[in-house]
Symmetry: C2
Subunit: 690 residues, 2 copies
């Protein structure tokens, strides 16, 4: 029977759920605040006033510079959407800065400043990141630095539960951002998480249910206007259910065309974002000042577009029988006066001089067939599409959802206008389908986008068309390039493990890619040797080999982790001779001593204080050895080894020899050994597509 | 580098998608027909007429007997819901009868007859099974027996693609049954599939999108009434969106109570279904005649309830200002006349003497607070709850969704009536929440139920409450027993592999559970030996061991499958001496020769015709040996071995010795070795909960 050593894993099933709920309460509040503040700031700053815009043009770059400074100096990791980083973390890439408290802080306030500065950026991606950061903070037992710790959270001190918690956080972020609880679950599972389990489904569902209920309660409470703009619009952000969704063959044709356009523009968007990001990377590398300058530059371009382009549009007479005021002055609304006289409105200003949310609402508005001219839609689409591309990548927290929805809705409405003679479908619904197609073309999600759009707009009858459009745009875009988040992950150089094995891996075996000098320990090792190995290598796992007299022949005992070894060495349970002292060591430690520390924390090599005398003593590694590491034979097909590595979410995999009479281990495979760059570097003649 | 032998797998990505679409067209038609026919039969048989019911009582048992006879004689596997069987198949249990063409036939027509016979059964489970059967038929390249074969379908001749196709079929079934395309995807992933991949999500999404579009086209075409009752009600089966979903604190209290009741009744339902199934199993074992008698008996009880109980209800005066006729005579509707005079209706008859679909529609109907009396709801709930339990398990295709929704909606409405003084929520919405809570309590799904209910009722504003109710009922029910489908899988004795390792497995190692005599082959084996092994054992995989002179020491070469060995022996590539003849053999076969045959098909041992002389010859097993089998060391923790086995979807796992100088393989682990019964049989002192 197997011997149990110190338990490395603690499973915290019930506590996990309880804490998810708590987490969500916490996640939700900053999210709600962010929305609210951004809205209010925007309103106060005259987005909704008419064009005495001379002082504003100075104000926007100021806000932008503040956001950029926050980002550049306090937490560079907070720039961008955050979804690629969360995705990478959930794939097993544990980079400290991704989910650090400082990143959380900058993400929240940078996002508020960024949205207020009038950039064409969304708050959804940052909210996902915010949710994940808070979850990470809880998963680490709080922050010791800021004196926020809870003892019961120590149950999350293992990789898997912490990863689950962060998935819940990401789901909560989407749920709060779009007010789409089920969409949040599906987003977390389809886009964010790398490993699905039914328990995870249940946990994310629990989390977003709490979000929905808390959100609903807030909306109820704020109905009277006691919390500013928050809660306006209710649970459904862009309700289009009033429009009748009748469609026939010619409409289908228009919708298929929309899907095709979405696929092409979507993949082009990804291509251009990639190019722009590479250019910006060169500028951003030069220092914080350059980052801020770039942000201010883009801010000026954005402001010029927003306040300059509406001059191109002519005034349109207000339609009669409107329930809302036209033109609107000094408030959020559909018909902006801008430079027009009473009774007239400027349709381009109605899109540009609004918050992004209101602009989307205007584009989705139904029964307003002729509200926007074709030329207006064309100008707005071109401007927003380009601004969206050049804005992503500057040093502010910036989501991609809103720019993509804006651009998609605009060309959707444009197509609706062009087809109005033969199509019965409302232009507002065309805008919705356009948004769906561009989202499908850039992000390449399916079910989650479907549900998010359904929860945003409450139009179930349109579902078949939304599915059709997503299907077409994703298929077309997939034939050109990858989804935007995958592209960014790759561009950032994060060692993301794909779910499938690459075709060329079939022609290699596990032994082919094992690299580097192998450092092994004996079951009872000299302290000096372990310290030397820890100092001279960056390895996180070391194989332990039992030798005679502890076994008949040298055999693989298991694997020790660097972090556990450091804890053991810190405990100083050394002995003068090579003797087993397992019991003694086990008694000295508790399970929690070996719990996974917060990322970037834990004992460091410098914390150890080992005397010269102790260096010559021995330490028994058996109690901390994982005696059941996953192993593959060196002749195992690399493709199969990769699947094993990926499916089980491993960090180390031992490669053992096939024939007898050789040392019991050939090498260790880690995530980096499965990266295409590594393998194709070793075997340059390999064809990566075969 | 690894040497490639005959390719066992073919990946059919693009073809898969194309064929999914084709499959769906095919799946959809019988589904649609089933609904239509059942409806029409029911209407013709006087469900909607008033009580000249003497002839009907004879007719119902007749239909029931026909369904039972079909089921008992033609395909016993078609009885019941079918979802547990599909679930088991997708877990890797390849029982021939589960997805056979005869099962498909009986499932479709048995379901139509069963629904028409007035049983409290649903058509949803059978539709999922129907979808899976059609997918299986396509995945096998059609049916040779019925001369329906397509050559391009041979690309699915491997386990994984076929499993994917069947998942798509199940999704299509739900999508068609509830007219819920996204719900179908989620059902397939949450309940049916054992392995999730993002490619699978995309494929099921594709499938259900086609279902949605085809369905929408049919509804459009049938709008004028040219296809009977089909298409009535449009894409949303039970629309409740007209009711205002306003709720406050006291409503929440009522809703939480609903969730608690749902959890308790749900787990009780599962408990009773289990008991009833065990009782019926004894009766059904006695022969087909007993099966039919049981069905007729239940049919008579059902008819007595349906036509007898309404006499208990007093007539109620029709409400004024109704848009529909009251009382209704001779058609589907809400207010049944039964024995009442003009201007009055019988509320119990309005529930009993309707198709199940219409009864649900009546219960969900909004703005009809007082339509059903409390006593009526109580009687109907008791009757339906009990009928649902005693009906499941008889020899007809019978879904569980409809009975559970009916019972749940009834007590939901009952609770709504009880709380009407303090609650503002519509009783129709209470009925919906009741249905959600009982579904959550029996089936224990979360996201998929949420979306299915959303797509059934089109009330997005109620989503937070639906989530809350599901959360509570599932949590409570989970503390008593397992979900109903899991229970049935277990009861049927199917070796279902759970996603997680059992706790006691941590105390065992892989070597502890290896059982049975190990049969190994040499790399070049005597034909007689292989035949003997095939005859005397039921093993599906045999380890191949290379011995000197082909290697230095005996070493594990790989694993051959029984099916591949049979193909090789059929080819008769034998040689007089122990020589390698790999090239020659590879040239003689094509990839498709080794493709997985349809379940229950493929070459059998009896098909081989080996002469005495050939028995003494040798066959080179190397070309068909899988040279990279997954292996674990005998001292590997059984829990970790189980996770490896389950996560990678293996059928065989080789256990290799830890120390050198022993034979290169200790044994083979299969699915059965991981079953709790097997392990606890070997180690009776193990505590299964620790």
């Amino acid at each position: 029977m197997g011997k149990r050593r110190i338990r490395h894993y603690t499973n915290a099933m019930p506590l996990n759920v309880v804490s998810s709920a708590a987490l969500v309460g916490l996640t939700n509040i900053p999210n709600i605040e962010a929305v609210k503040c951004a809205h209010e700031l925007a309103v106060r700053m005259g987005f909704h006033k008419d064009p005495e815009f001379a002082p504003l043009i100075n104000m926007f770059p100021g806000l932008a510079a503040a956001a950029a400074a926050l980002c550049a100096y306090a937490a560079p990791a907070a720039a961008g959407s955050g979804i690629p980083e969360v995705k990478a973390y959930l794939n097993g890439i544990d980079a400290y800065s991704i989910l650090a408290p400082s990143t959380l802080f900058v993400k929240i306030f940078g996002s508020i400043l960024g949205v207020s500065a009038g950039f064409v950026v969304g708050k959804e991606g940052p909210m996902v990141h915010t949710g994940a950061c808070i979850a990470s903070l809880l998963g680490q037992g709080g922050s010791r630095r800021y004196h926020l710790t809870w003892k019961w959270l120590r149950y999350f001190k293992n990789d898997r539960d912490r990863r689950d918690l962060i998935t819940c956080g990401a789901a909560a972020g989407v749920a709060a951002a779009f007010r789409a609880p089920v969409g949040g679950v599906l987003f977390a599972l389809e886009e964010a998480a790398s490993w699905w389990r039914s328990a995870l489904l249940w946990r994310t569902f629990f989390t977003t249910a709490i979000v929905a209920i808390v959100l609903r309660a807030f909306i109820e409470y704020c109905w009277s206007g006691s919390c500013g703009l928050f809660g306006q619009g209710g649970l459904i952000m862009y309700d289009v259910s009033s429009a009748e969704a009748t469609y026939s063959a010619p409409d289908l044709l228009a919708v298929i065309l929309l899907g095709v356009i979405g696929g092409i523009f979507g993949s082009l968007y990804n291509y251009l974002v990639d190019k722009v990001l590479r250019t910006y990377a060169i500028i951003n590398e030069k220092g914080a000042a350059f980052k801020i300058l770039l942000v201010v530059g883009i801010s000026i371009i954005t402001s010029c577009c927003a306040f300059g382009l509406p001059w191109l549009a002519e005034c349109i007479e207000c339609p009669s029988n409107l329930k809302i005021s036209c033109p609107t002055v000094g408030e959020s609304g559909n018909y902006k006066s801008f430079q027009c006289q009473a009774g007239y409105y400027n349709d381009l200003a109605s899109l540009f001089l609004n918050t992004n949310d209101d602009a989307i609402r205007n584009l989705f508005s139904t029964d307003t067939q002729k509200e926007f001219r074709i030329s207006t839609l064309f100008i707005f689409f071109t401007a927003i599409y380009c601004l969206g591309i050049i804005t992503y990548g500057i040093a502010i927290p910036s989501g991609l959802f809103i720019p993509v929805i804006l651009a998609g809705a605009t060309y959707g409405r444009l197509v609706g206008r062009l087809f109005e003679s033969i199509s019965k479908l409302d232009t507002g619904l065309f805008a919705l389908l356009g948004a769906a197609s561009l989202l499908g073309g850039t992000m390449r999600m399916t079910v989650s986008l479907c549900i998010i759009l359904l929860e945003l707009t409450n139009d179930l009858l349109l579902l078949p068309l939304v599915m059709l459009v997503l299907l077409i745009s994703k298929t077309i875009a997939d034939s050109f390039n990858k989804g935007v988040y995958d592209q960014i992950v790759k561009l950032k150089g994060l060692p993301y493990l794909e779910a499938h094995a690459e075709p060329y891996m079939r022609h290699l075996v596990a032994g082919d890619v094992v690299s580097g000098p192998l450092v092994t320990f004996s079951g009872i090792e000299r302290v000096g040797n372990t310290l030397h190995a820890l100092k001279t290598t960056g390895h996180n796992g070391f194989p332990v080999i039992d030798e005679p007299p502890f076994s008949d022949t040298p055999e693989l005992c298991g694997l020790v982790l660097r972090s556990h070894l450091l804890v053991l060495l810190k405990g100083k349970n050394f002995s003068k001779d090579r003797v087993l002292c397992e019991e003694e060591i086990i008694q000295k430690f508790t399970t929690f001593d070996f719990g996974k520390a917060g990322s970037g924390k834990g004992i460091k090599l410098e914390d150890l204080d080992i005397s010269e005398e102790e260096m010559e003593m021995f330490v028994d590694l058996h109690p901390i050895t994982n005696a059941s590491p996953y192993t593959v034979v060196e002749t195992m097909s690399l493709a199969k080894a990769a699947i094993l590595f990926r499916q089980l979410g491993l960090r180390h995999m031992c490669v053992v020899p096939k024939s007898q009479g050789r040392p019991p281990i050939v090498g260790i495979l880690t995530r980096h050994d499965f990266m295409p760059e590594h393998i194709l570097g070793l075997y340059p003649h390999m064809n990566p597509h075969k």
